[in-house]
Point group: C2
Chain length 364, copies 2
């Protein structure tokens, strides 16, 4: 796979043009583009601008309802439940997290859940919205079922990430990870390369360990059984029940507390129905936010400065890699692979967008 | 190691007598006994009545201050920060969770943090206090540093469990797990048996994989380096940074939001200084609690009924094993090993307690 670096501003303007052509307003296109490009800038290619293709298909096949408008079906000073009526995930996500942030600023705490939604990008984007405002932010989502529960062989939970962000110096703490041992995106990368998966990631339709990426992905898509293991693997000895437990917490916050579809009931027929959660906690609930931030920053520094394992040069605290990836990409551009460029070109042809006028001439 | 089964009521009366002799009031002894015996009844022997010996030593060496009284240093309708002034962990834990529960009943949400405390038993006990009241309960604690961060070789975080409980039928969802791949208690069990540890649990003072339980425990006690790996092991390939991330969330809630000692600063000299967090969320923030409970119970049933992996008879939902262990022990008694009985006997001799009059004649 060949990669081409595209400057941030260049990619942003192109993305805005495409999403407007898809039928989103300029403001909506800005939110969607911001979520996708933040992911690319953080080095999380799987959830970046390449998702444009997925959204294009989802609009075409009616999975994303362009004409629907979300509805706040329950609300208190601390909470809300929103029905997204199968609209775009990023738009309701941005709205819901802002609502949680407003509640946390006014009341100390905000917890908003969303049902009947679609893919919303990286969970971390929403958690970071809160930490940008001096709050602790959390977000979880469910997804198409890909995680087999401990001792099971049918995927019943999604990748079910838990994202957590909190103000700190010199940069915010930022944690965003699926509760599976790896994401489906990682399995797709091995499939594209035609390489066997590492041991301990997946099981096949018979419930046996497998390293066959193509088979695993087909089984997930066709709901034939098998899938990705929870963080901690397949046995209690290595903590499988723990990853499964964290996946449950993400699921409870997203789909149970919104009375929405659990992962095993999403993505059936032409509907998605993904559910999300958005939490903001004001650190002033616990005293002086600046004192808390300073205390936290000291601990993070102690972690980074603690002795390294043999052969390891650094201990990272969560969010460091993203900050470094951001700085690197701001200078060097965002790497986009030829397959994605080809898919984008096809979309542009349909919409009569002159891709070259945005991205320049790329010989892919 | 030989085990002897002791009936629940018998053990309860014995424990009450011992803690009263240690200097706790009848009410305090009841709380401490309830936390310890709940752990035994759930089948978590490491955090059960055998901890009586640890508490006895901690009172003797001044780690637990018998004459201190906790102090609420910050409070809002949704939150509180409590300084336990190095008092007993269970007592402040019970008080703090009840405060969180009261806030969640009145305001929808309660989040109480505690600093300068001691070992408080299983985190799950406090989470369950909330689910017993129809609320979602969470509790986290830090502890003596035992977890090495990803790519590190010095223990910097504690076992840092996250416990989560929520009302469901036919029994509550109950999740309580360390964010390390295993607890120190498990390593101690291998040490007592003289067996090598499974691969992937621990690293030694040089930061190299190790299966030598005795060496690991000595290193942790003497802060010489090495320790237990995060859930997900030592490499990012198996999700090490995820377990480390969940450990961070437990740490943030407990020690950062209380302005208390982080794990790496606890248990230095004669003080402990462990920190805890207690969260209660009222499901009525999201609509009808009964509808949410029914929705959740359906999903749990679907999980249990989903296809099993080869060679596995059951898929457990979290809390099932504890309910079954409880029922079994109510009939058959709590298994206590001879080493613990010997240690209890020594305590009884010092306090002039006639152990036989409580437990009957046990030939251990």
């Amino acid at each position: 796979m060949a990669y081409f670096n595209i400057q941030y501003e260049t990619m942003k303007n192109f993305s805005l043009a495409v999403f407007e052509k898809m039928g989103f307003t300029a403001d909506e296109s800005k939110i969607i583009t911001d979520v996708l490009l933040t992911s690319d800038m953080y080095g999380i290619e799987s959830h970046g601008v390449q998702r444009m293709v997925l959204y294009y298909k989802s609009i075409k096949n009616g999975r994303i309802h362009m004409d629907s408008k979300w509805e706040v079906v329950h609300e208190t000073p601390l909470s809300a439940v929103i029905d997204n009526h199968f609209g775009m995930g990023q738009l309701v996500g941005y709205y819901a997290m802002n609502k949680a942030i407003e509640k946390a600023k006014n009341s100390g705490f905000g917890f908003v859940t969303v049902r009947n939604s679609n893919h919303y990008g990286i969970a971390g984007f929403y958690a970071k919205m809160a930490s940008n405002e001096g709050l602790i932010g959390m977000s979880t989502t469910n997804s198409e079922a890909i995680m087999v529960p401990t001792f099971g062989k049918m995927a019943m939970l999604g990748s079910n990430p838990i994202a957590f962000a909190m103000p700190a110096e010199p940069y915010d703490f930022f944690f965003d990870a699926s509760t599976t041992v790896v994401t489906r995106g990682k399995v797709e990368v091995y499939n594209k390369k035609g390489e066997p998966l590492p041991e301990g990631w997946t099981i096949n339709a018979e419930g046996k360990p497998s390293t066959d990426a193509a088979d695993i992905l087909t089984n997930i898509n066709q709901k034939k059984g098998g899938g990705i293991l929870p963080l901690g693997g397949s046995e209690e000895m290595t903590g499988s029940h723990k990853g499964y437990g964290y996946g449950m917490i993400a699921e409870i916050f997203a789909s149970i507390l919104s009375l929405g579809l659990t992962s095993n009931h999403t993505h059936i027929g032409s509907k998605s129905g993904t559910c999300h959660s958005f939490i903001a906690i004001n650190p002033n609930l616990f005293g002086d936010p600046e004192a808390i931030k300073a205390h936290f920053s000291t601990f993070l520094e102690e972690l980074r400065n603690s002795p390294k394992a043999d052969g390891k040069e650094r201990i990272y605290t969560h969010g460091e890699k993203e900050v470094e990836a951001y700085e690197k990409r701001l200078k060097e551009g965002i790497p986009v692979n030829d397959k994605t460029l080809g898919e984008m070109k096809a979309i542009c042809e349909e919409y009569n967008i002159d891709m070259e006028s945005y991205l320049g001439k790329i010989d892919f």
